[in-house]
């Protein structure tokens, strides 16, 4: 099994464009440090939230004098506090990600690009690799200077083992169940039975789940016909198949159904789903596809 190379994933121009992007969240989480994200906490923020009657001890600078002029009652303006948030990156490092050379590389670059955006927004970034569970983790990263460390972590990942999304979700909730934040799962989601339950488990713990479904063109449209022995990169005994066009059509149908099921499930729970086809240039994927999927703004 070949390990894709992961060297200098982005150039300066691309990084500059990433800095202008914002990772959208459908929920509001409470953070700990000031950052650029709106928090559930009300305080000295930039975004107006509500009024409440003045109480002694309120900051007089927050009194709305215009309203007092009209109704002759003192009201205090409430603003949302802008805090940091938790970004959990679950990067699939199972052997199936390395079945084709560009797939694993593409997944890591994708994770790196989104992590860069998060770090630039002063979020706390947790990078983890998973296969039969969470196999490798990195200490929390924060701040723009941590980008190098994030890239180093991603570059050291090796694809091996089978995919077990359920066990991964268990490991994750055991480790970070007490936290809030967004979970970005970068995977091929080829654990057909475990994908939906695993996502459910994450939702139950209050996480916002964003699925980046990494697929290759050959997975979408197989190009081999006739007698073949199909080998699973994650192990298992190879099995023979007489590949016909009709069988390929069934395969595509099944593949599409699996993707659609995952998409529907995530979207129904205010999660996000984007299919990342490796034939699409990474810049287009970041700047167009993820923005079109409202994951980035």
């Amino acid at each position: 099994m070949t390990q894709p190379r992961f060297e200098a994933p982005f150039d300066a121009t691309f990084l500059a464009r990433l800095q202008k992007l914002h990772l959208c969240s459908r929920r509001i989480f409470s953070g700990r440090l000031n950052a650029q994200h709106v928090s559930r906490k009300l305080g000295a923020g930039m975004e107006f939230a509500d009024y409440r009657p003045y109480a002694p001890g309120d900051d007089l600078r927050l009194l709305d004098w215009n309203l007092y002029g009209r109704v002759e009652k003192l009201y205090t303006k409430l603003y949302r506090v802008e805090e940091d948030r938790n970004l959990f990156f679950l990067v699939d490092v199972s052997a199936s990600m390395a079945a084709e050379r560009q797939k694993f590389d593409y997944a890591r670059k994708l994770a790196a690009a989104v992590a860069y955006i998060g770090l630039y927004e002063m979020d706390r970034v947790f990078l983890m690799g998973f296969s039969e569970g969470i196999t490798v983790t990195n200490p929390v990263l924060r701040g723009r200077k941590a980008v190098v460390e994030a890239l180093y972590f991603l570059s050291k990942l090796k694809a091996t083992g089978e995919t077990d999304l359920v066990q991964t979700s268990r490991d994750f909730t055991r480790m970070h169940g007490s936290k809030e934040g967004m979970v970005l799962v970068v995977s091929d989601f080829l654990d057909l039975e475990g994908a939906v339950p695993a996502m459910d488990a994450l939702f139950k713990f209050g996480f916002e789940v964003l699925a980046l479904h990494v697929v290759t063109p050959r997975e979408l449209q197989p190009d081999f016909l006739g007698e073949w022995r199909l080998s699973d990169p994650e192990g298992g005994r190879p099995h023979s198949a007489h590949i016909t066009r009709r069988l390929i059509a069934r395969y595509r149908q099944e593949f599409t159904a699996h993707s659609a099921r995952l998409r529907r499930h995530l979207q129904a729970r205010q999660g996000g789903y984007v299919r990342a086809v490796t034939s699409v240039p990474l810049e287009d994927m970041i700047l167009k596809e993820l923005r079109a999927g409202h994951l980035l703004a």
């Binding site: 080829l190 057909l192 081999f224 007698e227 199909l230 080998s231 190879p238 066009r245 069988l247 699996h258």
Partner: protein, 630 residues
């Protein structure tokens, strides 16, 4: 159904080989390629437990069926009636030797043989097969086995009698070998029919029916069986002709014998030759401008052919070149030696007494005979009774009285054609041989005659005085002297007849250009064979073969002296397998098993089979497309 194109064994081998190849290709194709698919769970879900479909095995079965049908088509299958007679495979061997050119009545024996062969071909049934072979001193197949009578008739039209004799046993053996591989069905009857003008003492090959049929009626033939020319002896000019005419017929005949050149008649005589007898004649010829002399016999009246077989009615010869051998005889007076040498027409003799002998006497001499003296000689020399003194090439060993002589060595030119075993010698002296000497005569205790060759000079030592033996009284004496001269100087051709005969192997002079070849009597060029350093030619027609290169010229008379061919009747005793044919219909024994009306020619099945193959291939192709698409 029977196969006509292949034997069952060939068919089985062919199909098995093709099927083996197809199965190997199938197994190789069955060896699947491996592809790594990340989405293997999805593939497993949709493929399930389906294994290699039966469709692929069915494709192999279709291919095997196609191969079987192809093999069957090559085998030329035909459906035959259940009770059909076994077919006949016949090798028709036609004698084309010289005697087949004998004219009997209105036509030649060859014409009759062709008539018979054509009638046999016409009698063939549709399942019978026949080949045609020409037999003379070799056997040549003229066409492959066929069931088409017209094809055989066309080949018969090319047959003509040759000028050589026939060899029947090798021809029959060869025909038998072709019968075993003729591709006929296993139950076919193998038969060899030998058409000739006489029966041959040959053995039938095992398992093959051999029938001999003779054609021809004539019983008379005369031939020039000997023709020789030699120079007249002594001072007489011109040549002497000897010839012999034989009558191989059953009654006495008169013929006109002519001696002539190509342009002039030299003389003629009416000869009467008794049945089975010979008549010999000798004539003197005046010097001629040409060296080619022929003897021809014709009918005593009218000038037509003497008989139906003309090849042996003419003989060819060359007048010998006059060559003189200069011989010196040094003798105190031995008339036996002197007269015996003088008898040889090619010898120019000079007699010298021993006291007058000086080496200068030998100027111009090629050979010297010393009688009782033994001086050294610079030329070829014979020493009779050498005294063995100093300077003598031969040394005495021991003298013996009345020696008992042992048989001579017959492989030396000197002793060729003579025997001296009972020669009486009063007293002889054994000679001491030297390394390289050849002992030609001895008495058991030592050699009495020694041949020696030193520095291109040949010496012969005779250890006794011929005048004190009875050797001069014997016929062997002049022959011995003649042989000695031949050994010293080489053989002198004194005639051409029987030097070369049709079918003999001639060794040509090496100066002849093999590419230009030799001109045969018909004016055509014949290329000799080059074997190591020799040029060899096997003449096939009587007459003069010539070659020329610059000033050099070579002529060889070739005569027809094949006695077996000249005998007009030969063995004609009939038995069950030896039949004489003089009718119109071929003998029943020959055409047994032939039946043209046995059944009509069955329609060929192989076009139908090929059509089936085409349909199967189309089905297989559609099936293949179906497999890929769906």
């Amino acid at each position: 159904m029977r196969l006509f194109g292949l034997t069952p064994t060939e068919f089985t081998l062919l199909f098995c080989a093709a099927a083996l190849l197809a199965v190997i290709i199938y197994l190789l194709a069955f060896r699947k390629r491996t592809v790594m698919v990340a989405a293997d769970p999805i593939w497993r879900k949709i493929v399930g437990k389906r294994r290699t479909p039966f469709r692929k095995l069915l494709a192999l079965l279709i291919q095997l069926l196609v191969l079987f049908l192809l093999s069957l088509a090559l085998g030329d299958p035909r459906f035959l009636p259940a009770q059909a007679k076994p077919p006949v495979s016949m090798a028709l061997v036609v004698d084309v030797s010289a005697s087949m050119g004998t004219r009997d009545g209105g036509g030649t024996r060859m014409d009759r043989a062709l008539d018979l062969s054509g009638a046999v071909a016409d009698a063939m049934g549709p399942r019978d097969r026949m080949t045609l072979m020409a037999m003379d001193d070799s056997c040549r197949p003229l066409l492959p086995y066929t069931s088409d009578p017209q094809e055989i008739r066309d080949a018969l039209g090319d047959l003509k009698p040759t000028t050589v004799s026939e060899e029947a046993q090798p021809a029959v053996d060869f025909a038998a070998s072709t019968l075993t591989g003729s591709g006929s069905s296993a139950d076919a009857v193998g038969r060899i029919v030998l058409v000739s003008d006489r029966f041959h003492a040959i053995e039938a090959p095992e398992g093959i029916d051999l029938v001999q049929v003779t054609v021809g009626e004539g019983t008379e033939n005369l031939a020039v069986t000997a023709f020789d020319i030699r120079p007249r002896g002594g001072a007489a000019r011109g040549n002497e002709v000897f010839l012999e005419v034989a009558n191989y017929g059953r009654r006495s005949s008169k013929v006109r014998l002519s001696i002539h050149t190509a342009t002039a008649l030299l003389g003629e005589e009416i000869l009467e030759v008794s049945a089975g007898g010979t008549t010999a004649r000798s004539y003197f010829l005046q010097p001629l401008e040409t060296d080619r002399v022929m003897a021809t016999i014709t009918a005593a009246r009218g000038g037509g052919p003497a008989d139906g077989f003309v090849l042996d009615d003419r003989a060819f010869a060359l007048t010998p070149e006059q060559s003189t051998r200069h011989v010196v005889l040094v003798t105190p007076g031995n008339l036996y030696l002197e007269k015996a040498l003088e008898l040889n027409p090619s010898v120019s003799l000079k007699v010298v007494a021993p006291e007058r002998y000086r080496p200068s006497v030998l100027a111009g001499a090629q050979v010297v005979f010393f009688d009782g003296i033994c001086p050294p000689a610079p030329v070829h020399a014979v020493y009779f009774n050498p005294p063995g003194d100093a300077g003598c090439p031969f040394t005495h060993d021991r003298e013996v009285d009345l020696p008992v002589l042992l048989p001579l060595r017959g492989d030396h030119i000197v002793t060729r054609g003579i025997t001296l075993i009972d020669v009486q010698v009063q007293r002889a002296c054994r000679l001491l041989p030297e390394p390289g000497d050849v002992e030609l005569l001895s008495d058991g205790g030592g050699p009495l005659i020694i041949a020696r060759e030193r520095d291109a000079v040949r010496l012969l030592g005779v250890g006794f005085d011929v005048s004190k033996s009875d050797l001069p009284l014997r016929v062997a004496f002049p022959i011995l002297l003649h042989n000695v001269l031949d050994w010293f100087l080489g053989e002198v051709a004194i005639g051409g007849f029987n030097e070369y005969g049709v079918g003999d192997l001639l060794e040509l002079p090496v100066w002849i250009n093999p590419e230009e070849g030799v001109v045969n009597p018909a004016g055509g060029r014949v290329a000799p064979r080059q074997v190591s350093n020799k040029l060899l030619l096997r003449p096939r027609m009587p007459g003069y073969y010539t070659a020329r290169r610059g000033e050099r010229r070579w002529v060889a008379p070739v005569n027809f002296h094949l006695k077996d061919e000249s005998i007009p009747v030969g063995d004609r005793r009939e038995t069950a397998d030896r039949l004489r044919w003089d009718g119109e219909e071929p003998p029943a024994r020959v055409v047994a098993g032939f039946d043209k009306a046995e059944y009509p020619e069955p329609p060929l099945q192989w076009p139908v089979i090929l059509m089936a193959i085409a349909w199967l291939l189309l089905f297989d192709w559609i099936f293949y497309v179906f497999r890929i698409l769906f």
